[in-house]
Amino acid sequence: MNPLRRLFGRTRRYTDIDISIEEHIQERADELEAEGMPRSQAEQTARREFGNVALLQQRSREQWQWPALESVVADLRFTLRRLRKSPGFALTVLLTLAIGIGANTAVFSVIDAVLLKPLPYPASNQLVSLWLNAPGAGGLANFSSGLQLSPSMYFTFSRHNQSFQSMGIWTWSNSNITGLAQPEEVPTALISGGILETLDVPPVLGRWFSAADQDPHGGKTAILGYGYWRRRFGSDPSVIGRTIQVDSQAREIVGVMPRGFRMVDRDVDLLLPLAFDTQKLGMAPFGYDGIARLKPGVTLQQADADVSRLLGVWMDSWSNGPSTNPHYYEKWRITPAFRSLKQLVIGNVSSVLWVVMATVGMVMLIACTNVANLLLVRAESRQQELSIRAALGAGRARIARELLLESLLLGLLGGVLGIAIAYSALRLLLAIGPANMPRATEIALDWRSLCFTFLLSLIAGLLFGSIPAWKYSRSRASLTTAGASRTSSLGRDRQRSRDILVIAQVAMALVLLVSAVLMIRTFAALSHVDPGFIPDHLQTFRISIPESLVKDPLLAARSHNEIADKIASIPGVSSVSYASALPLESFDPNWDLIFVEGKSYQRQEPPLQMFNYVAPGYFNAIGSRILAGRDYTWNDIYAIRNKVIVSENFARENWGSAQAAVGKHIRQFEKNPWSEIIGVVRDVHQHGADENSPAIIYWPVYLNTPYLPTPAPDAVRSVRYAIRTDRAGTQNLINQVQQAVWSVNGNLPVASVETMQEIYSKSMARTSFTLTMLAIAGVMALLLGIIGIYGVIAYAVAQRTREIGIRLALGAQRSKLKWMFVRSALALTVAGIAIGVIAAGVLTQAMRSLLFGISPHDPLTYLAVPLILCAAASIASYLPARRAAGISPTEALRVD
């Protein structure tokens, strides 16, 4: 029979059984009565003959049941009924669990999407980032991207390697698109051949770039990102073959990438071929990221060795021009250190995420101990009932099952509520999460998260349920135990398990609080760092003037100058200027050799220095200061007078003081003329408050470029403007800026508009995010810990009412009685602190990379947190202790 119909027809079946059996007995009784038996006796006899009516009804019903399940269902209903009867308990437990599970699910969803799931490319485990270490290349090989590849390296590696199915290089850019609507700057990936083959994501329309597209003399083509195609072309499939103006150059659209396609870790609106001209390539510049798809079975080490060999080939086959030594780069000690592409994408966010996961996991554990404690108390109050059931023959497993069922049910219900909390928590996490969180778009509450929630709920239920289940099913507990409620105090054994839970709780709370305080102190330390500029009231945005729009470098330089002048006349703007890169931008404009006049390098290379390119008034605009000498003037710049400004630390290193540096000379290459230092400026934390200020050489925005065979004047075309104004961040200002820019050139988009304050808080986001999470967790842990201690002491007081009464009757002093309870709480707390301090000492090591200006073993923190905990424990235990001392002996002895 259909099981469903069986289930639903069951009530009718049960009625049938009862009616049949009842009629059977009545008929038999009738018969007996007819034989002369009195009615009452006849009915009794009929029932006796029939057998155990209730049992037989049950057996008959069971034919329609799955007995094991049915009894579980019965237990469940019993449990639900019991929970409904104590809504306070149920609500406390469910809320605690829901918050714990919800927070864990939310953080898990982030970790799963960012760290655990493979990248969204076919066979993405074969994808590697071509990372090169080059300890001799100074700042060119930095911590965040290693030494990037040069185009000539790409050609050598891709032609001669034996490890890769395909490889390519690419770089980020922004393109000005004109002719569609307003001029628009869109994020663009410039890619070499091999990139799309490596990522292996087919286009949704059209095709990938072909070899012909990578020919510098061939047709100009472009591929659209899905988002841009939808936004600007309304998902029009006939877009293939149309022409768009990219940086004032006509390009034919040959393909559209599918939804969700990302260039490694960013969304792109446009893909353009790099189209290198191999005739004109030197060994530099090292400005491209490389990726490759490994051949099956090839390991990273094999690929490293393979490319290591090719570095020699590269130096043999390319040159930076006549009279240069291609083997010069041996000094850089370039070694391949390839890593999985996923590792590159994830970057340094994993330590933050794991710390946060550990944190919420610990809060969950604390919550579980609290719930376990509550359940223990509850089981305690059922001791008598359970003993009676055991005496009536209920098996140990049967009672354990019921207790476990209750906790599992609580866990699962908590999980269901937790999903709702996770949903909102996830939105909160993403809102306060680190800026540029990798793979942020992939984060969602998907079935993997739901599975996690389910498992977590189950495990939590088992975890906090197993303690009472194990304890109470074990005490087979003859009825004497049940009757033992008149003993004056609680069984030592029972109290002990709750004490252990409290100790664990205090230990975990201590770890969380220590971590939180360490983060707070880190944040404070970071906030006290003087960044070397004033981030408030500073509006910034980027403008790029491509060569295809304004060919003449001087004209390009003058256009920027003119834009700055126009902006300066906007009301409320106190100063405006621009530079290649503002502080805290995620890229360095350049690094190269700097020779100091009069210094002997004895055939050694001088160290590489960081370059920035600035316009007059830049230091004033960002709120820096000229310590010695003077700023550039436009006359210095347009006349190319070979002047230069350097940072204070560079001046001190070479000449001892800022003043001494003025009038001295430096140059970039030996063939260049010397440049005179006209000014020394304050150091700026260019890479964030937690990084040292680098020495910076500030070149002018218009200068003789040393990178051409014969030096010629060149302009810095992409610059970020800094406007100091109280109106920073207002839409009104941005509109006026836009008008000012367009009055100079109508084809220039105003891109990445941000206030410096926004950029600054983004650079602190990792710290403030970790801080927020740890602070929330720490406060929760503290609260849960207080509740836990309060609960244990309050319960002990309730259980020991008789004993207290006797003590009082025998003359105990009330103050001593209070102290007795506070002391027992403090003993537990101190034990917890001892364990917690050791645990924190070990666990906070994992946070080392997140800390700034403070050791993970900061003594002040380790002193303050235990004191806080002791104070909290005293308060938590004092309240019930006072109640105990207030007991009147006569009343206490009347209990029970």
Binding site: R6, E23, G51
Partner: protein, 133 residues
């Protein structure tokens, strides 16, 4: 089947373990016996529970006695298996009860059981006859 002491064969459903048989002078029939009796009786005429017990008792000349209680779990099992169906009805005294009747599947099942029962009985008879010879 033995001389002198006449045993009453209590037809007990198989679910009870042997230890639960009540006394030594009653004997359980082989598994499935109760089922055959019920099917055969109801094939003859749809009946309610009490009538069924009385019918088996009378027809077997008091030799077979259904343990009253155990009848109902057996009936429910057969209902579940689709061998029987039940409908509302009234007893001889006019009380509401449920009338059981055999389904087609029940008849097929009965015939199969009867034929295997016949074979078994035949076998037993032959073995016993051989021993006595």
């Amino acid at each position: 089947m033995t001389v002198g002491h006449i045993p009453i064969y209590k037809i007990v459903i198989q679910r009870y373990p042997p230890s639960m048989a009540r006394s030594t002078d009653t004997r359980d029939l082989f598994p499935g016996a109760l089922e055959i009796m019920i099917l055969q009786s109801l094939r003859h005429k749809p009946m309610h529970g009490y009538a069924l017990v009385k019918h088996i008792k009378q027809v077997s000349n008091d030799l077979l006695q259904v343990e009253e209680g155990s009848l109902y779990p057996a009936l429910q099992r057969m209902l579940r298996e689709g061998l029987l169906e039940s409908k509302e009805g009234v007893s001889a005294k006019g009380r509401p009860t449920r009338i059981y009747r055999v389904t087609n599947a029940g008849i097929r099942h009965l015939e199969k059981e009867l034929s295997s029962f016949g074979k078994m009985f035949d076998g037993i008879t032959r073995v016993l006859a051989f021993n006595e010879a």
